[in-house]
Each structure stands twice: as C-alpha cells, then as structure tokens.
Symmetry: D2
Subunit: 460 residues, 4 copies
C-alpha cells in the first residue's frame, strides 16, 4: 500500500466469506465508489466456486457506470493466503448452513419460545455462537500470523461474541465490529424532524447521537440536530404514530422483515431513551413476555418472525441474480449500501476523519459495564486509529436489561472458549427468552446441540 496524490493505492483487503451473494456486491459497490482508494480484494470462502464467481463479478464493477476507482479481485485457496499482506480483513460469513439456522430459529418454537431473528441472542443466538466462536479463534490466529497489523472488520453475527473471540484469541488485534442498526434509528429521527417541521432537509448525518449498549440492543442517550429538541420531537412522533406505527415502506412485499417501529417507540415512551435497533432485534433482548410471548403478540406489535424458509427462498433469488450477472444478462450496477464500512477504511487510511458507532471491548467508555466486555459506542476513526469515545454510564433504568445480556455473553464466551457446554447452558437459561423450566430448557438445549452437532465436534 502506498499513497499518491492523497489517494491510497494498492490497498489489500482479505475478504473472509467472499463467496457471499448479496452482501459482497454491496461492498463492491461501496469500494468502487470511493475515488481515493484502489487495490485488490482477495476472496476466501469455504465455497470456493462461489468466491470464484464473485471474483468475476467484482472485476466487472470496474466497468460499471459511476465507477470512481479500480479494484481487482483474486481468490485464495486458504485462509492464510487470503490474509497474507492484508491491510484490511473483512469477515462476513454464515457459520454453518441454513439447516443449522433452521434449528437455531425454529426448534425453540416447540417450547413456546419465538425468535424474530435468532442469530444474536436467545437460544438461537447462543447455539449459533457455539459454531462461530471456534471459527473466529481460527481467524484470529491466522491474523496474528499473517497480518498482525491489519485492521479487521467484522460483520458476522453474533457480533458481540465474534469481536470478543477475536480479542480473546489475539489480544493485540486491531478489530472492530460494524452494524447498521443504529443508522436506521438515526434515519428515523431525521424523518421525525422532517415530519415535525414539515420539511425534508434532514438526513441521517444531520443527527448527532450518543450511543450506548451492546450490539442490536443499543440506545441513544443524547441527540442533537441544529437547535432542535430531538428527544421532544421524537416524543411527539411516537405519540402521533402510537397506533399505526410508522414504516418507510407502504407495502411490505417482504413480510419477513416487516417493522412498524412500535417496539422501538414503546421502549422510548417507557424508558425515555431511544432504543436504536430494529424491532426484531430489540424484542429479543427484552423479557419474553413483553414482545415475544407468542405470534399473536408479535402481530400486535406489527413486526415479523423471520423464518429460515424465507431466507432459503431469498438465497435462491440471489443465486439467480449471481448467475444473471455472470452471464451478462443482468448488468452490473453500483448500489451504495449506506453502510460505514468503506468510509471507515478510508478513515483508517487517513483520508477523512469519522466518528461512528462500533463494537469493541470496553476500556471505560461505559464505566458501569465490565472492562473487556464488547460494547457498542461511538469511536473515532482516523489514520490507523479506532479509539472509543466516552459514552457515559448505562442509565439505571436500562442497567438491568443490558447488564444481564453482558453477563450472558461473557458466559457464552467463557463456556465456548473452554468447550464447556455445561457453562454455556448457564447462559442459555439466563437468557430473557428462556421462560421455561430448567429441565425443559435442558431438553431443548440438547436437541439444538444435536441438530447442529456437525459443527460442534470440538465440544462433544
């Protein structure tokens, strides 16, 4: 990597999970849109054929309309090949297959436990973590060996435990986890301002927010936009849409992701702080009786339980899209994602400073959560620097909800690292969704482990 005319040239990115259909294309779009950065992306995927297809697609982005730089794509045979010499490592993998995810999300339904996502927390999130953590141990060791100074950006869920594992395995790693859930809430706040002032001037970037919490259960404790009372405006907004909810889409073609913000607004009206993630995520961190008691309750809050069946269908569509792009049937078009990833890279290269929310270990940015636990707050992004910004204490009203999650995640981390399923089970029964007797919980746990045993051999 070198600099020329305020541009970073020959940047090397190792992309783990590079065979992705969908996420990868957004990343390619963002990369090719950054005029001051160019280089090579080395794709690595256990499905090497998929990676190879993305390589071809990736190269085509250089010819897309609006391309502002040049990025070349290669495919690595091994993880180590992908990482050697990398300036950045991007991790976006599916730990296991949709078969395992099917078990994660739907097995608990037999016990009356419903999950709207099932990849972060709850029984599904915990079992998914069991598969994921050993994979991230391997990645962290490879980073230590092949590119110890690279910046590692994780997009994989369960986010908190992925980042925790990276630091636990290689404490000097320069890693952070990125998630767009807060952005959606910032966008909602800008909508509320526009709605209130009957204008359309405000966008996400106009809202300055202070963020605290853990990934997918983040809260905004302070916000500014010009000299407006953002909390007051949002309060009116929540009143206005208390019955109908608010949705950016008229019709939810994709019902699986439907959200009318009613959970988010209910939490704000109760707690006085702005819950800042999608309703499907927020619900999973609250006591089960609040929003996830049963499908009727979910309906009443106007959001959805995303089924894995839907994900399978959606993958089929994306596979079709992949083939269409490969055959040239579908032209390559740049579609920006609105994510911060590429801008974070630019910031780390010194091209533009940035302050945004990110998942890293607590070094005191949230004084009343344990040091070392992975939390989500703002951080500065500058040349070769990610530094947490002081975010303040978790307010007392939220401390019970958030600290218990931190304890669960730390326990899953311990149990998985020690390959101790009994310890993991302690976290399992402490989860807010686990409203069943311990004996039943054990049966469920064993069943979920058995269902996904192919990926859990190190524990068994």
């Amino acid at each position: 990597m070198y600099y020329e005319n305020k541009c970073a040239k020959d940047v090397k990115i190792g992309y783990i999970g590079g065979g992705s259909r969908g996420w990868a294309w957004g990343f390619m779009s963002d990369l090719i849109s950054a005029p001051d950065m160019s280089g090579t992306v080395c794709l690595y995927d256990i499905d090497k054929v998929a990676a190879e297809k993305n390589r071809i697609i990736g190269e085509q982005y250089n010819q897309a309309e609006g391309a502002k730089s040049e990025w070349h794509y290669t495919v690595a045979d091994t993880l180590e090949d992908a990482l050697s010499g990398a300036d950045f490592v991007v991790i976006s993998i599916l730990p296991g297959t949709f078969d395992e995810m099917e078990s994660d999300v739907h097995t608990p339904e037999k016990y009356g436990i419903y999950q709207s996502v099932g990849d972060t927390t709850g029984p599904g999130g915990i079992i998914r973590a069991l598969r994921t953590i050993p994979m991230f141990e391997v990645i962290a060791k490879a980073v230590e060996k092949c590119c110890p100074n690279a910046w590692v950006i994780n997009y994989t869920n369960p986010m908190t435990l992925c980042v925790k594992t990276l630091y636990r395995t290689f404490p000097k790693i320069k890693a952070f986890g990125c998630c767009h859930e807060v952005f959606g809430t910032q966008r909602l706040l800008s909508i509320a301002l526009n709605d209130y002032y009957n204008t359309d001037v405000y966008a996400r970037d106009d809202i300055r927010t202070n963020v605290i919490g853990v990934n997918h259960f983040t809260w905004i404790t302070d916000a500014s936009c010009n000299n407006h009372d953002v909390f007051g405006v949002y309060d009116s907004f929540c009143d206005k849409y208390a019955e109908t909810g608010y949705s950016t889409k008229k019709n939810w073609a994709n019902k699986a992701f439907m959200e009318y913000q009613l959970v988010k607004m209910d939490l704000f009206k109760r707690f006085g702080y702005i819950a800042a993630a999608g309703d499907r995520h927020l619900a999973e961190f609250c006591p089960s009786s609040w929003y996830l008691k049963d499908p009727q309750t979910v309906d009443s809050w106007k959001y959805a339980l995303t089924s894995v069946e839907w994900r399978r269908q959606n993958l089929k569509e994306r596979l079709g899209k992949s083939e269409a792009m490969l055959s040239g049937e579908m032209p390559i078009t740049i579609k920006r994602t609105g994510e911060d990833g590429v801008n974070q890279m630019r910031a780390l290269l010194g091209l533009e400073n940035m302050i945004t929310n990110v998942n890293i270990p607590n070094q005191g940015q949230i004084p009343n959560l344990p040091l070392g636990a992975v939390v989500e707050t703002n951080a500065t992004f500058r040349a070769n620097e990610v530094m947490p910004v002081y975010a303040g204490n978790i307010p007392n009203e939220l401390y019970s909800l958030i600290s218990r999650i931190v304890g669960i995640q730390e326990t899953v981390s311990d149990g998985a690292t020690e390959r101790d399923l009994d310890k993991v089970f302690l976290a399992f029964i402490e989860d807010p969704q686990m409203n069943i007797p311990v004996k039943d919980a054990k049966t469920l746990f064993d069943e979920m482990v058995a269902n996904t045993a192919k990926y859990l051999t190190e524990y068994l």
Copy 2:
C-alpha cells in the same frame, strides 16, 4: 459513653421499632449477655404502648439468669428524642401493617406470580420499598440532625434499599445492614464437614468464607476450614442429599418456613459457587420458571410460600408471649440469637475485632458492580470502623443474575426518591418474577399501589 476497665459504659442505643414482639427480645438477650458493655436503650415505636411493654420486659432481663451486664430501657415520644445522643441506632421496623404485606405477597398470585417471602424483591418487595423509602429518608435526616456520628444498624427489609436510602439521604451516615442469611449457609457448610468426616467438631465460626452479591442473593466464592476442601466436601453433600434434601429439623411444625436446601444445592451444582441464603429468598431472585413457576414447583423443591396469614397467627402467639412476660407468668430467659449485631457493636467500640458480611455501598469491593450500589460482602469491624474487604468480581456465570437485580434496585431507589411511580414501574417489569405481559403488569402494579395507598400518599 466512656470506658472503664476495658468495658464500655453508659452506651446509648436508639432503637427504632422498639415495640417489636420477638426480635426485640433476642436483641435484649444478646445485649445482656455481653459482659463488657452496658448502658441504655431508648425504644421508639409508632405503637408507643408496645414500646412501653418492651421497656418493662427489657428491664426484667437484668434479673434473668445469666445476665452479665446491666441495660436500662426508656421510651421516647419522638424519633428525635430516641436518637439524641445515641452511640448506636438500631432500625427494625415493619413498614406498614400485615394488611399491606398481605397485598404485597398475595395480590400477584392472581396473576400467577408466587412469592415465597415477598419482602425483598419481586412485586411484593418493590411495593414494600415504596412504603419504606420515605420512612428511611425521615430516619436518615433525624440521624443527621441528632446523632451524626452514631453507627446505624439496619435490620429492616428490603435491606438493600433501606441502606441505600440512608446513604442517599445523608451521605456521611455511618450505616450498615445486618442479615443472618449467610450465617445459615456457613452453618450448613460446617454440617457438611461434620457429615463428611463423621465428626461434630466444626461450627459456623470455623468456616472462613468470601461473600459477594446483594442481600438475600449472596454467594460464597471461596471457603476454608483447616486444610479441607470445603467446596469438594459440599459437593459430596449436595450429591448425597440431592433427592431428599437436608433439613436441620426433623419435622417442620412451622411449614411456612420449611426448607430442605434443595434450591441452594441445585444452584451450587449448576454454578459451582455456594448460594448463601435461605431457599425462600434465593428462589425469588432467579427467573420465575426455575423455582417459583407455581405452587407445585415450590413443593417439588420442598420449601414453602410463607403466607401472611401465618404471620398474623404467629404475631398473636407473640403478643400472648408478651403479655405472659409482662404478667410474670412466663419467666424472662436469655435466648441468644446467633446474630452478629451485638458483637458488631462491641467491635465498633473497640472491644474485639471482627470480620463479617454486611450491606454497605460498593466502594470497589466488587469491582464489576456499579459504585454506590449497596452490596453484601465482608467488612472489617474495629474501633469506630467498618471498612469493606475486597471481595473480587462477580463471576461471569452469576453476573447476569446479580447485576440485573442491582439495576432493578437502583431504579426503585431513583423512582421512589423522585416519587415517580412510572420509573418504579420500569423496575417492576424488569423483575425476574414478572413473567406476564406489560399491560397485565400495569394492572397488577396499580392494584398493589391502590391496596397500600394509605402509605403511599407522597406518590399519589
């Protein structure tokens, strides 16, 4: 107060709740048994007649067999009279009457929420706290005015919130909260050792323990006794009595307090740390599905839901006992309580050093709980000194269970101090026992508040 021949003379104790039938007599017994301390106890009670009766009974202890010192009793007209010039203040009150407690404990049953005690945590504990906190604000202000250097010993529940309120109202107060629940577990450990080694030499005092947690949800993370493996011995004990449970009593005449330690032993076997309170208390801090799902679950764990009806009956008996003592029908006999209270006073007077568990604000003795939250750990007791002993972090497996309770208690403290029932309700729905929808919880909350409104006028 002065010293003579290594004895403390003319010690003045202000006793708030001095009309108590039962607890007061144990305290009188302990006082009269301490050979190196004498003085005056000034009884204060809103039931002045009861205080007057205890005055007479108290004086009679001076003639009881085994009396080793001399204590005189007076009755105060006002709280301030009771506290003026006090060296020690003892607080042991019933906030409200059994009518309120009836509502605290039994109203939630209509909603399927069962409470084994209902005075510390859970819906009952929280509503009781609402009555209690303003009373403790009054007491703290009176201490500040009348005896700012006195040591204040609280025995009232909810312990954590009583102590919190004292410090919140008068930050320089020298207060701590005493509870005997840990002692019972220390006794159980000595029994386990005797059982294992087929001996009877071990007693509670032979077991050195490190205590962490919050009142009634305390845990022993380390224990020693000679060169024995106390945790190992207890593990065998738990295996041996896994089916039958273990009870110090052959028959539980008083079924209302029945305990076979099965909850305690179950928690130990799962978590690897020794849960150190009575089963009836421990159960209330765990998720409701674990031990308090319904009365059948409670039966299966062989402990009891203590009804307020039983307490009413028991009070009648104690009233009878009071009259019998007053009339001389029943002779005054010294019955030591096994509590640390009087020895703590002796320690604070410099007569004998002591290390025991106590409830005080966190100053770092548990680094991963918030500073200022009231926690239970060991402390040193010496001449005019109570200093917390470093107890270490809450282990990750327990952190979820304990930290959520701390958050709830801090929120109740905030809400009650601010007379903000909406904020208190946030704690109410965060409680582990609140497994019902928020709407139902609100109905329950409103009903419980209405039932006890006589004592909640400051909020309404």
Copy 3:
C-alpha cells in the same frame, strides 16, 4: 440563534476579557473568516475603555478584505450582561496586572528558582492560581445563572485550574479549555516528515496524534501519517538536530520566546514519547535540575526565560497597534491564528465534526489518573457535544512526572477553594521547581503572597 441554509445565524458570544490587545484581534479574524456563522460578540472587560476600543475595531473587520460573514460587537457593563443569552462564552483574561506577574515570575529568582513562563506551574503558576480561582468561581456562578447551557471556552492560564474551578463551582457547566501548544508539536512532526522525505506536502492536519497529560505538559503517545513511521522519522530528526536544535525562525527577533526544541527532543530521546508543548513550558514541569537549574542551563538548551519586562514592552507595542487601528492609520487585516477555537464553535453548532485535544475533567479517558482531575486528551466536537476520547494510561515512565503535577494542581484547587493558604503551601513545596529548604520556601511564599495581596484579600 437559528439556522438558515446550513449556516448558524445570530450566534451570541460573551467574551470575558474582551478588552485584550492582540488575542481579541486574532479571534475576530477567525470569526469573520468562518462563512457559515454570524452573530454578536458582547465584550466584557474590567477595563471598559479597552473593550469599547475593541468594539470599534471588531466592527471594522466586517469591511476587511476576505471577510466571509458578519459579526457585530457590543460592550457589556457587567459580567451578567455579557453572559445573558450567550450561546458561547469565551474567557481570556489576565488575572491581575503585569505587576503581579512580575512578582510571580521574578521573585523566585532571588532564591535561585528560574521560570521560563511562570503562569502555569511552579511558584509563579501557583500564586497566579490564587488570584485566578476566585475570579473563575464568579464566572462559573454567572454562567449558571445567566446561560447554563452555553458552551464555555477558556484560554486563560493556569488552564488546568481555571477549568477545574469552573466544574467545581458549577458541575453541570459545559466548559473546556483550549491551548495551541500541541499544535506546534504536530507542526514540528510535519516538518520532520517533510525534512525526511525531502518534500513539503505534509502539514499539521496530516498528523494524527493521541494526546495525554495535563495542559502544557502533554505527550503524544501515538501518531500516524499515511503509512509512515512517524516516531521513527522524528527520532531521525532529533538525531539530526541534536546539536543545533531546530527552529522555524532564522533569527529570534523576539528572544523572549526563543525555542530550538532541544528540551522537546531531549525528552523524546529519553522517554520514547513525544513531549508536545513548547520547551519553555515543558521545562517547568520537570525536576528543576534538568533544564532550569540556572540561566546558563537555560542557555545551553537554547530557550529563554521570558521576562515580564518584555511583556510590558510588548504590550506597549500592542497598545500602539490598537490606536493605529482605531485611527485608521493601520488597516484592519484578517490574520488567521491557526487556533481551533472558532472551528470548535462551528463543530458545537453542528456545522462540521472535529477531533482535537482539549482540557476537561477526567472521566476515564486516562484511566490511571484520578477521576475529576482536569487532563488534556483528544475529544470529539460535534453538535452540542464534547466527549473525551479514550487516550489510554499514562506510560509508567511518565507517570511519576505527570501524576505529581496532578496532585499539586488538585491540592491548589482544594486550598484555594477553601481559602486555606497553608494547604496551598503544601502544593507549593511539592512543585518540581521548589528545590530549596521548606523554611526558605515559606519566606518566598509569604513574599509572593504579600506582593500580590491586593488580589488575595479573600485569603488574608
């Protein structure tokens, strides 16, 4: 204040010390150069005539070449008038006169104690603090009363104690202290890069730095610029100029401020971290035998003891310049200062985000310094937000040097707040420059207090 087309209009600034000759004009230049901000500056000064002259000069900036906005100036009769309705408060005052400063700086010379600046630390800085702290108490109270939500920017020395006093008096104040000393070092690093790579492309803003310490004794623990090894390059630079020193000026017309960076470079070579303030300041925080033993030692390090006589001369020149501007003899020209002040205001107004170093109380940004002590680290500046950025621990090698200063400053704060000269004297004899017996130190202290007694009536 309101927003129009991404500009902040009608911004109100209360300027305490608004009669300044020099600093005020730079501030006026910076203000008029910001295209997206306009409003009114209300000047307050105990020398009201001087403020009135600056009002006239200030208005003239609107006609200067290059003016990009419009700022109007008024003069306040009272502090409260100046602050009422302010969005920002700027404090830049001289506590006392040059007569007092003469005593601060030069009286210790009789005892063999030499000070290169004498306004921050050392005997001079401490006595100056005695005058300053009561003034800042008055200011903080006026802010609380007149504009509690205003952002307060302090430029006055002793910086640390000024900011400390603001927070100590009005804990919810939104205040921070600005100082350009770090900028000079960032500039020096860019020079070193240009020197090393034989180019001229690098400027201060290209260097990303992590800053820790206390004002005027700040250190850079990490720096980045493109993919260069900034520390390595600076190491070579220090070797290259080890003998001659390095100066941006060929000839020091103004010998009183001469600096050849030899102290800075010596500290870097020893400690491995980049000392980031002017040599005249750095020297005063180190043990007196290092750089301030006597004038010969100062000469050997090629920096200067700035005399107050020089300041008097300089003031005369500036008074002349003031008259010349008033008479129109000297045209008003915009001269940007290179300071961050106006950009910080723009950031706080939400016009552009910023990350820069600033003096605020420690909330954990430096974990191994006491909470609440005022420290200098980076902070984020965004719409209505200044949040400290985590800076990390003071390295062990520097901890002795820096922590002792923090203790001294906290003690001066305590002593001055309590108007307790005996306590202040403890700080006085703990200062690194106080290498004389305690008895002599007392004589010196008394003499310095007597010399400046006019401003110390509250202590006497």
Copy 4:
C-alpha cells in the same frame, strides 16, 4: 500439615536466607512461642555454612525456657529443595554483600546526595532493586514449580519491588510483604495517649489505624482508641515535643539508627495525616531539600545517616553471637520480635483472625493509585485468605508525594524485568533525591552500576 486439637502440626516452612544472623533468631523465637503450631523449617542460604549453624541454633530453641511448641530445622542444598512441599515460604535475604550496599549508600554522597537508609528508594534503593529483581524472579518461578499454593512472606527490601516481582513473574502467587515500620508509629500513638492522659494503659494493639501508601512511606489517615480523639492527642504531642523530639531511648548507643521522630511530627503538622514509618525512611521519599539536603540538615532533624561501616561492625557482633550460641557460651533465650509474621501464619492456618497492614498489589484498596502497583494497606488474614481492606483514596495533599514514587517503582520494575538500564535510568532521575543535572546523574548511575556489576551481569 494437619490439624489436631485446634493445633496445626507438621507445618513446613521454606526459609530463603536462612543463614541470617539476627533476623532468623527472632523468627525462631516467635515460632517457638506459638503454642498451636509446630513443624519444620527448611533453611536455604547461598552461605550454606551459615544455614547449617542456624539449623543447630534453631533446634536448641526447643529447649529454651518458655518454648511452647516444637520446631525442627533442616538445611536445603537447593532453592527447590527448600520449597518442595512448603506451606509457607519466608524470604529474608541480603541481595549482594555489604560491598554492594556500600556503593548503594555512599557513592551518591560524592554528588551531594545523602541517604539515611539507601535500601528502598533513592539511587541506592534503585540499584539494589536491580540486583534483587532477577533473584525474586528465580524465587517466584521456584514457588510456581515447587509449592504453588504456599503462602510467601517477604521481608526483603526494596519491599515494594520484591513483592511486585513475585506477582509479575507468577501472577497466581499467594505472596505478601511484611514490614514493622507502621507498628512503631502505632506504638508512638499509644505513647502519646499515655502521655496525654498520664497513664500507661495503652499499647500498640489498642490503636486502630487505617493505613495507606507504599512501604516505608505509609500514612495513617484515621485512627481510633476508645473514644479518644487520637489525631488531636497526637497533635498536642507533636507540639509538646516540637523542639526536643521524642525518643523511646534515653541514649542512642547505636547512633546509626537514632530517631527523635522530628520528621514524622513535622510531616503530621504540615499534612494533617500521620506519617507512619521511621524518620530515616520517610526522609528519603520527600524532596531532597526537605530533610536530606546535607548532613547538617539531617543533624538538625535529629536522625541519622546509617553507614554501611556500622552495618559491617554490627554483623561482626552478630557473628560473634552466633558462635557463642553454637558453643553454648551464650544460652538460647526466646526474644519475641513484636512482628506480625508468625501471627499472620497462624491466621492463614485458621487459628486466629487478624487485620494488619501488608504489601500487596492494588486491587482497588486505594482507588486513585494504579491497579497492580504494590501498595501498603490493611488486609484481613484468615484461613487461607489475605484480602485487602478498602483504604480510600490518597488525600490530594499526599498524592503528589506518593504517586510519583509509585511511578518510579513501576518504571524500575519494567526496566529491570526487561533488563533495560536506560529505562531504569529514567526512574533514577525521577527520584526525589536526584537533585543533580541529568549528565551528572548518568555518571553516578554508571558508577553505581559498575561498582555492583558482579550482580548485574544480566543487564550488561
């Protein structure tokens, strides 16, 4: 080791430095006086002949008048032999010989730097630490290998750095450092009480103290004794003896250790906290101009610069005493030391609880000093437990004096561990006694290193 009738039998103590003439005999006296403990002491010393002589003397204590238990002595060939199977390890060694100590203490005098002890801090203490730290690394590793569960008690100076090295090398070590300096001050307080009340009833144990600081620079921030105002009484005492000083001895036969408490009393009168170590130690931690400017200054404070020549003479006497005991010429008599060591062992064996001051890493007992730095505060001693007691923050007035020492010691620890003399030199020039230019300090440092090079081969 086993227990029988509340006695600990067959206790194994590994004694490193077991050839000591003097200290060993006191330890033997204390051991033989404890009725509830018996066992074996395994002596290890690089001077094996000396250890063998002590073995013979040690056995003789069993026949001494007043012997209450039975202790047998063996001699180990190797360190590992001495530690294998040990329940306790006692470390009391001289790192190097008096030749090295001669250099430590007296070489700096050529540069005008005087040291009253020279074994803890100052140039002498730092150079001594260089010799000592590698030795303690060896010991810690041997403990890890041979007796990882043993309690390790250090008496060697520099205390702080010895204990730091043990924990740094083997983080799970159960080690603490014992020092009697605080006891002397507690004794002085009891004398002050007796003096004030014209009685003789008070002894050291009657004074309850809160202790903070680092070894040999400890401070009492709170004290109680009955209902007396201990600080007030001590204040009167300091006034009464302000001129003459106070000494427990009429004539100082041994002038080398002469102390009239004038330094201690001066520090109390200035700072309001009770400096709690011998004057010779206290002086070395204060700025050199306070008490150690030159020999005349030392004289004026009526304490002594202990010369190594005196130590050589004293050793000769002790060698003579050793021979006299061996030959039977001098009868073995039990002389209790007044140290806590044997009682601490008894407490760790569960025979009697104890609260006393001790040197261990900071885990929060002093919140405003860095975690992990070795500090001296109270701790509980109970069965297999040493737990720090919360001691509170270093008061601001003392923070400058104490924190700078902590920084110096941590830097010496880093430098010595890394065998980096340049880093150690940074600590050297930060020391309060180093009032000379850095160049001269370097010459001195090099000379002191050269003088003791025989023991510093790992650095050179």
